[in-house]
Symmetry: C2
Subunit: 213 residues, 2 copies
């Protein structure tokens, strides 16, 4: 059933009512709301803590063993280290640049492999603690900005993507959490790829090939 | 970079050392261990609770609005209801059938849409509570079986897949948690598909089309 999610229907010559409903549905996303976004951002550290703290290294330190050129895929240890780096270098520093300097100054590029240096010598529990503390501090700082609706459309300059808005940055912060939760579940599921035996046909996560740009 | 994860390398005519390392890595999964499996199963309810409890309905009740034939994709509310149904009807009942009757009696088919009936009239907090309670009870029952290594290879009969083993059932229970965490992160990310603006190119979860069989 390659067409499970109705993909490809757009090329139908005679769109049925079902197709029209499908196209209408595809466009239905949620309008950005700062409070809703913060509600999610505030929960991620505790969710990862509850899922991962105390698990044996076989879950925490294993990746999928695949190579992208010379780059291995990430383990849960790598992923949490990456989220820590984002709290330090990416989200709130960029929000401040937008509010203070607008498009006059492009964001500093974000090193998506910073964790390879910055996690060195740290335990996994330390990374979980650090993520929780930094996220809490950053959300306190965000709330203290007391953003008004008109602030959300203020513009900044991304070094590769060009003009972006503050609301796009904040929405991306939340979806970045979710994209790494998505990656984490895939990497962990990989460890039991063989162990599940014939059930692998029912377990969609085992067919996810990742979606890195 | 379509080849991010080294897919397609197997068709190279002259496999390099890199390709050989890649193929070796692809096979590296983790050997099944009951204690490691239980460690993960025990954490899922608290992880979902920390991530989801108290979030506004815009996160909890929204799906991706896509249709697979007539079946909409699932919201976080649907997903947690499905996990509750699995605790009631699927995992431990099947383990008991394997131990008590082996291949003599096929498992009852599992209704993957049972939540559409069974979640009716319940609040999301009730579903989270129910999932935590049932999972705890099921893991207590599993531990009380005091499984020995030779028990793990005991065989049962799946109504569609044929012969399966107890260890495959238990590994599938854990990967089933992960496949729904994977789905949940995708469905939630979808809500901000438009809100992230140009950043969508960096957010792999927004390119996941689901992987249902």
């Amino acid at each position: 059933m390659a067409n499970t999610h109705g993909r490809g229907l757009v090329s139908e010559k005679n769109p049925s009512a079902g197709v029209i409903a499908h196209l209408r549905n595809m466009a239905r996303t949620t309008e950005f709301d700062v409070a809703d976004c913060i509600a999610l951002l505030a929960r991620t550290p505790a969710a990862l803590d509850a899922l991962l703290r105390g698990l044996p290294d076989t879950w925490i330190r294993s990746n999928e063993g695949r190579t992208a050129g010379s780059e291995p895929t990430w383990s849960p240890f790598d992923i949490v280290g990456h989220l820590v780096a984002g709290e330090r270098h990416d989200w709130m520093p960029r929000a401040r640049i937008i509010l203070d300097q607008g498009e006059a100054r492009a964001f500093d590029p974000f090193d998506r492999l910073a964790q390879n240096r910055e996690s060195q010598g740290k335990s996994f529990d330390q990374l979980l603690d650090e993520f929780a503390r930094l996220r809490q501090e950053n959300l306190a700082a965000l709330r203290s900005l007391n953003l008004q609706p008109e602030d959300l459309s203020r513009r900044g300059k991304h070094p590769s993507l060009g003009v972006v808005t503050l609301s796009q940055l904040l929405a991306t912060w939340a979806v970045h959490d979710l994209t790494h939760l998505h990656q984490l579940s895939r990497v962990m599921a990989h460890q039991y790829r063989d162990a599940v035996g014939p059930w692998n046909v029912y377990l969609g996560v085992l067919r996810c090939a990742g979606h890195s740009a």
